[in-house]
């Protein structure tokens, strides 16, 4: 019973992670890309929570760390996106190619 639930949770988590990856791959808007990364982190969180059902509390504690990190990333990330926007007036990631080759 538990293991089935965990397996489902893990699969959902993997699916979410894959959706996040696909989003990063396909989307061009920097903010959306970043949101997809957040989705991936949350997918991992789901896995961690699922494992902690089996292995004890540690997994859930890790989730908090991950959330905190995600928050920090969000803060920094949005600031950077704003900085970029000030130069390019755009957030389409494929338009930034001053640096190449």
């Amino acid at each position: 019973m538990t293991s089935t639930l965990i397996r489902v949770a893990l699969l959902v988590s993997a699916a979410l992670f894959a959706i996040g990856v696909t989003g990063v791959l396909l989307r061009r808007n920097a903010i959306v890309v970043f949101l997809c990364v957040e989705l991936m982190l949350n997918a991992v969180n789901l896995s961690l929570v699922a494992f902690s059902r089996l292995l004890g509390i540690d997994g859930q504690i890790i989730v908090f760390f991950v959330m905190a990190v995600a928050a920090a990333e969000a803060a920094v990330g949005l600031a950077i996106i704003i900085a970029v926007f000030r130069h390019y007036e755009d957030v389409d990631v494929d338009r930034f190619d001053l640096l190449k080759w």
Partner: protein
């Protein structure tokens, strides 16, 4: 995540973390002093923050010295207390110190003298130290993020320059993306073994039957680290980020970030996953090969020296990966030693580039280096030595480092890696020498801009780098001894059976040193 119980009291724990604590405190002090000093006006920060940060680094280094005499922490400690960590800390602190010294002139020139820069730099270093010293995947993740987030900001620090912002964005987005892989890998390994502690994970893995979860976890971890150490094919961000970032930050990134990530990778692979080499060794081998081959070839066609050096430092990640792939005391020593030298030469080389490039980092094209050898002999001489060392030429430290790596590769029965290493070095000679020939073989036309004048801090830093490189090349004995004898808590199953320590004094911290009959004989001889 039960760590603290086996440490003899909180004080002991604090002592074991003294360098990190000192550095964190100095970062905060810098931040505070800056805030109070500047108050409302938005001018540049005072010079006190610079010196405060330098002092902070020096204090941390002093604190790090005290770690040497501390005995090993228990196997359950979250942060290791072994020679590996001590040396890693020194490398990171060295990179930080050099980064600071080289940043002074640069920030003044670019009008970026803001206290946050120093604070961020110091905090990034704290992250690195945690990253390379931690024995728990979660702590490693935290260190990684602490380092990364600070460096994202540093990369995008020059708000006037769109290249800086673009570099920051690329670095950040892919970095965050890679972090997700990393933590996913942590999660899977946790699921597979029930622990995130490296040593315990190792014992679980060596007794149990590792399955798909372990394999997937290891793979995902490799991807996460692959990004951080800029291994091909996860390197694409690196040239852009290195080129776009403010140049002193580039040097710092290329050395510090890479060193910390590389050493953490080494620790994770050989401590926790040492018994399941089948899952990752082939991958590391290929990563090393690709990372040596691709950037070296691409660097051939670079006409911008900064970008060329960016590719070069990506290629050096490949050389370092050879050390990781070799493992064992020899590979460990090789990686550590090479990182020491690599830090000196890379930071130094980037620093010279920003001096030549002038305000706004505009003139880093190869053509701008024409005749530098005769216009600015000292500057060019320093760059020449950095380049020779990067190329791996005696009598520089780069040569000894390469030889160390070769010995590690050969000693772990991977002569193929050794051969690829030297062949790619040969390719690298071409582009390094191209700079040398621009500097010395061609004369500067009148329209080549004069390089900046250099400040005292820069000169001091450059002398430090050059001296370090030459010392590492001419009297590498002490450094080799230190690197060779740096123990790694929980390292087992050395794939390398050549011991460098047969003549080196000092404790071996290998948990299970395989006793080779001949080695035993050698020891008996001494």
């Amino acid at each position: 995540m039960s760590g603290a119980s086996d440490v003899a009291g909180q004080v002991g724990y604090l002592r074991a973390l003294l360098p990190e604590i000192v550095l964190t405190v100095s970062a905060l002090v810098v931040l505070l002093v800056d805030v109070f000093q500047r108050g409302e006006h938005r001018g540049p920060s005072g010079s006190s923050v610079r010196w405060l940060s330098v002092i902070g680094v020096l204090l941390a280094a002093a604190a790090n010295v005290t770690l040497i005499s501390l005995g090993p922490a228990g196997p359950d400690a979250l942060v290791a207390l072994d020679g590996f960590r001590v040396l890693a800390n020194f490398i990171i602190l060295g990179a930080t110190l050099l980064g600071l010294l080289f940043a002074f002139d640069y920030l003044k020139r670019e009008g970026l003298e803001i206290g946050e820069f120093y604070a961020l730099l110091l905090l990034a270093s704290v992250g690195m130290m945690i990253l390379s010293g931690a024995q728990d995947l979660v702590l490693i993740f935290l260190g990684l993020e602490m380092m990364s987030i600070s460096v994202y900001v540093l990369t995008a620090f020059n708000r006037e320059d769109p290249r800086s912002a673009e570099a920051g964005l690329k670095y950040f987005l892919i970095g965050a993306f890679a972090s997700a892989f990393f933590i996913y890998g942590v999660a899977l390994l946790y699921g597979a073994t029930g622990t995130t502690h490296l040593v315990r994970m190792a014992s679980v893995l060596s007794h149990g039957h590792p399955g798909l979860l372990t394999a997937g976890g290891a793979g995902l971890l490799l991807i996460g680290f692959g990004f951080k150490v800029s291994a091909v094919p996860f390197h694409a961000w690196a040239p852009d980020a290195y080129q776009g970032a403010p140049t002193p930050v580039t040097g710092y990134m290329a050395s510090g970030v890479k060193a910390a990530a590389m050493l953490a990778l080494f620790r994770v692979l050989w401590v926790s996953l040492g018994s399941v080499q089948g899952y990752w060794h082939g991958t590391i081998w290929w990563l090393a090969v690709l990372t040596m081959v691709v950037p070296n070839l691409v660097a051939l066609v670079q006409d911008d020296v900064k970008r060329m050096l960016a590719y070069s430092s990506v290629a050096h990640a490949g050389y370092l990966l050879v050390g990781v792939a070799a493992g064992g005391p020899l590979g460990r020593g090789a990686a550590l030693f090479y990182l020491v030298v690599y830090t000196l030469m890379t930071v130094g080389a980037f620093a010279v580039v920003y001096v030549v490039a002038g305000k706004g980092d505009r003139h880093s094209h190869l053509a701008d280096f024409r005749g530098l050898g005769w216009r600015r002999p000292w500057l060019a001489g320093a760059l020449g030595i950095f380049l020779l060392s990067l190329a791996g030429f005696p009598p520089t430290g780069g040569f000894v480092g390469k030889l160390y790596l070769l010995r590690a590769a050969v000693g772990s029965h991977q002569p193929g890696l050794a051969v690829i290493l030297v062949l790619t070095s040969l390719v690298a000679y071409y582009y390094y020498l191209r700079v040398v020939w621009k500097m010395y073989f061609e004369d500067a036309p009148a329209d080549v801009p004069e390089p900046d004048v250099t400040g005292r801090a820069f000169r001091f830093g450059a002398v430090l780098c050059v001296a370090g490189i030459l010392v590492a090349g001419l009297v590498p004995g002490p450094a080799v001894d230190a690197a060779g004898s740096a123990g790694l808590t929980g390292a087992s199953a050395p794939s390398v059976d050549e011991s460098v320590a047969s003549t080196a004094p000092g404790a071996r911290q290998d948990a299970k040193p395989r006793t080779h009959p001949r080695r035993a004989a050698a020891r008996a001889q001494e």
